[in-house]
Subunit: 338 residues, 2 copies
């Protein structure tokens, strides 16, 4: 097992490296941290840490830099989450309070996160999976054409065009609308299928085909739109990545363009609590030199979606984690209010 002091040395190395972006040597360490021992001792500790795989030398006669494993240990045992300052909190609150609709909330959140962490921010739209139905509207646009509008409790609106097998009268449509709403409003998406299963039967023969079609479309919408959308921002921060640009940045940009990849990335994060994936812990190999900090957020106690940031493995973990957690909390509040 590693002694207390060796862990302290590792912590110092991570902190210095994150600050300076340069390999850190034994002498510099003793000068910038009150370790109470000499460089020589630190060298021995460093040798041990390297032996265990927590740090590495880019080349002989250079200082050490933390490995993914080193960061992992740092995050798990050596660092806390650095809370934001009061002014920062107030700024977040003010900024988010100005949002007018869901799109705006997500947009602002992305910009906020990117600015606070100076990294790439990813925010998932509140998922429909755990949402409840606020209202279902049916509009007759043409004799045999109906538009279905679905409004969720998270403020999201989805619409579908439906071509009916037969024309349906305004009265029947109003009837369907009323019955549909009385059954599903306030209910969870997952519960809707059984709730409407027998609805078609109660209609006149001539309208049954149309009713079935409408119901089918509704269920389809529920399922399809469960696949989440997301928004990203702060890609300009990628330029602070490293010095060997094209090679580092390219795969990251490519990964960020693939929504599927990002959704999987966020999906891999734990449902509750903060998840930090470091370097090669990320499945997607374009992101092997990045770390992802993600957390769930929601209007209530339950998470309805996730948000997070993507940055270089060499990042300020406590600060980033603090910012991510704070933003998630405030977004949750905003959603609860609206």
């Amino acid at each position: 097992m590693l002694s207390e002091r060796r862990l302290e040395v590792l912590r110092a190395i991570v902190q210095d490296y994150v600050g300076t972006e340069e390999p850190v040597g034994s002498k510099a360490l003793t000068e910038r941290h009150r370790l109470g021992v000499s460089p020589a001792t630190v060298r021995n500790d460093m040798a041990a840490l390297e032996e265990e795989g927590f740090i590495a030398q880019p080349h002989t006669s250079a200082g050490r830099i933390p490995t993914d494993k080193g960061y992992r240990l740092f995050v798990d045992r050596l660092a806390g989450v650095k809370p934001l300052s009061t002014p920062e909190r107030r700024a977040i609150q003010n900024f988010l309070d100005g949002a007018v609709d869901l799109d705006d909330v997500v947009g602002r959140t992305v910009r906020l996160l990117a600015q606070l962490t100076r990294q790439v921010a990813v925010v998932q739209y509140p998922s429909l999976t755990r949402s409840t139905v606020r209202h279902v509207e049916l509009l007759s646009l043409a004799p045999a054409r109906v538009m279905l509008v679905l409004i969720t409790d998270t403020g999201r609106v989805e619409q579908r065009m439906i071509d009916c097998p037969a024309p349906i009268g305004e009265i029947s449509l109003a009837d369907l609308r009323a019955r549909l709403n009385s059954r599903v409003v306030g209910r969870r998406f997952t519960d809707v299928p059984q709730l409407v299963a027998d609805l078609a039967e109660s209609f006149e023969q001539e309208d049954r085909g149309t009713v079935s079609t409408v119901l089918a479309t509704l269920l389809e919408t529920l399922v399809e739109e469960t696949e989440e959308r997301l928004m990203i921002g702060g890609t300009a921060n990628l330029t602070r990545f490293g010095h060997d640009f094209p090679l580092t940045i390219r795969p990251v940009l490519e990964a960020l363009e693939e929504q599927v990849v990002l959704l999987k990335l966020l999906g891999e994060a734990k449902d509750s609590g903060m998840t930090v994936r470091i370097g090669h812990e990320n499945a997607h190999e374009g992101l092997n030199s990045t770390s992802v900090v993600a957390v769930g957020y929601g209007s209530g106690d339950e998470a309805v979606a996730k948000l997070g940031v993507v940055g270089p493995t060499r990042m300020d973990y406590p600060g980033t984690m603090g910012a991510v957690r704070a933003v998630a909390r405030y977004v949750g509040q905003i959603l609860a209010e609206s």
Copy 2:
């Protein structure tokens, strides 16, 4: 005025430079193009072209590269628009035909453009300015809470929550809905204000406040949502920019994150026909080393929005213009069908 051959030399320089990304010298030119004259003659021509500001030397004893002015001349007089090959056209058609809704159309278009041109693609959502109202829906969510849903002929749906000054009955609401629709359906956004101006007066005293609020919100939505949204993609292609990365790419990424900047950029493009803005012709200085190729597209003969690409000034103009034009055309078709 420049002689025919000198223009030919300029064309050759642009083509070679775009291909090789390296300054092109007189000898190489005569070898790769059948100019029918010796390097010495070409040197004289190059000196003249440089005198006029069409080409420049990065440093003494290097070849020449085109200036913005040189590219301008090339685009205006020396190059045509290179049509796509039949397989390419078919691929576009197939890819776009798979789209299920407006979001999907725009999303696919962005990816398509980015892939075809290997540059950053920007696609504006069909504007509401020239759209007409397909339907307005009012939903009572709570006694004094109404949701306004606006559906446009381009398939877009906008919603707003309205807190009413006083509760409004279902009957009055239905009445309002009916009257509102009878007046505005099929009309252009710009015409709506006068069409509904006197609507509040025809209601009972007790409902007037609410009716006014609803109408105000509707007008607000029309104005606000006239500001367009857009989607971008292909940022990974930025890595092919130049060799001096951070400096070149950073401002571009920043500009791309600012939707306002991009909207202005597209807004500057001519309403009809293709617009090419080269280097410093772009107002935003972050984009001074990029060129923008933009074109309007629409379901009918009139353009409802624009799309285009952003790339290095050193780009294959004929090819890019061909791709942009073709994509715009097909997207127009798709929109017309739906």
